[in-house]
C-alpha cells in the first residue's frame, strides 16, 4: 500500500491534504467551542435548580439531557462537517 501512497503524494496533493487537515481542525474548533460553553451553562443551571428544589430533580434531569442534546448537536454538525471537507 505504501508505494500507492507515494504515487499519490505529488507536491500539489500534499499541500492540498495539509490545507484540508487545517480546515478540518478550524471547523471542529469553531463548532466545538460554542457548544462546550453552552453545555456547561445548561448543566450548571440544571445542578443549581436541582440543589434548590431536589424534589423536582427528575424533571430537571430529563430537561437537562434534552438541552444537552440540542446543544451538543451543533458540535456534532461540526464533527460531521470536518469529514465532509475532503481534500
Amino acid at each position: 500500500m505504501l508505494d500507492l501512497v507515494t504515487l499519490a503524494a505529488t507536491e500539489a496533493g500534499e499541500l492540498e491534504a495539509g490545507l484540508t487537515a487545517i480546515g478540518r481542525g478550524i471547523v471542529y474548533v469553531g463548532a466545538a467551542a460554542g457548544p462546550g460553553v453552552g453545555i456547561g451553562i445548561v448543566v450548571g443551571n440544571a445542578i443549581q435548580a436541582m440543589a434548590r428544589q431536589p424534589e423536582s430533580a427528575g424533571m430537571v434531569r430529563t430537561t437537562m439531557f434534552l438541552g444537552i442534546a440540542f446543544t451538543e448537536a451543533l458540535a456534532l454538525f461540526g464533527f460531521v462537517l470536518a469529514f465532509i471537507i475532503s481534500g
Binding site: L4, L7, A8, F83, I84, S86
Partner: protein
C-alpha cells in the same frame, strides 16, 4: 429456563465466531487495490481518486435496506409477541392490586358496619335494661303506694270500728249503770218506804243496801 439459556449461549458463540472471523474493516488486499487503481486510471480518473476511501458519512444502500427491514421486523415481533404479554401482565397486576385494595376497603367497611351494628345493639340492650329497671322501680313504687294506701284504709277502718265498738260499749255501760242506779234507787226507795223509820235507820238501811249491792257487784 435452563434449555433457553443454553440455546442463547450457543447462538451467541456461533454469531461471535462468524462475525469475528469476517476480518478487519476494509481488509482488501494490495493487489486488488492496485488493480482497482489501474481500472480508475484507465477510465480517465486521477491518481488521487485511487486513494479516496468512501466517505464515512454517506449511507450505504445495503445497510439502509437491511436496517429498515431489521427494525420493522423487530417492531412487528415486539408489537405482536413481546409487548402484549408484558403489557397484559402489568395491567393484570395493576388490576389485581386495585381489586385487592378495593376488597380490603370493602372488608374494612363491612367490619366497621358490623361493629357499629354491635354497638347499636349493645346500646339498645343497655337502654332496654335501664328502661326495664325503671319500669320495675316505678311499678314497685306504685305497688308500695297502693299497699300503703290499702293498709292505711284498713287501719282507719279498724280504728273506726274499734272506736264505734268502744262507743257502743260505753253507751251500753252507761245505760246499764243508769238501769242499775234506777233499780238501786227503786230498791232503796222500797226499803225506805216499807220501813219508814227514823233518819238514822234510813241512812243505815241505804248504806247496808249499797254495801249489799257492792258485795254483790
Amino acid at each position: 429456563m435452563r434449555r433457553f439459556r443454553l440455546l442463547f449461549a450457543g447462538l451467541a458463540v456461533v454469531l461471535l465466531g462468524l462475525v469475528a472471523g469476517v476480518g478487519t474493516a476494509h481488509a482488501v488486499s494490495e493487489e486488488e487495490l492496485r488493480e482497482e487503481c489501474i481500472h480508475i486510471l484507465e477510465e480517465g480518473g486521477t491518481v488521487d481518486d485511487c486513494h479516496e476511501a468512501p466517505s464515512p458519512i454517506l449511507p450505504e444502500a445495503n445497510e439502509v435496506l437491511w436496517g429498515g427491514i431489521a427494525f420493522l421486523v423487530l417492531l412487528l415481533l415486539l408489537w405482536k409477541f413481546g409487548y402484549p404479554a408484558m403489557a397484559k401482565g402489568l395491567d393484570d397486576r395493576a388490576e389485581r392490586i386495585r381489586s385487592d385494595l378495593e376488597a380490603a376497603d370493602t372488608a374494612k367497611n363491612e367490619a366497621e358496619a358490623t361493629r357499629a351494628e354491635y354497638e347499636d345493639q349493645l346500646r339498645g340492650a343497655r337502654e332496654e335494661a335501664t328502661r326495664m329497671r325503671d319500669d320495675a322501680r316505678a311499678e314497685m313504687d306504685d305497688y308500695k303506694a297502693q299497699r300503703r294506701a290499702e293498709i292505711d284504709a284498713e287501719l282507719a277502718e279498724y280504728r273506726e270500728r274499734a272506736k264505734a265498738e268502744a262507743d257502743a260499749a260505753k253507751g251500753q255501760a252507761l245505760a246499764d249503770v243508769k238501769a242499775e242506779v234506777a233499780a238501786l234507787a227503786i230498791g232503796a226507795a222500797e226499803q225506805v218506804v216499807q220501813k219508814s223509820l227514823d233518819r238514822d235507820t234510813n241512812v243505815a238501811l241505804v248504806e247496808s243496801y249499797i254495801d249489799s249491792v257492792d258485795a254483790r257487784g
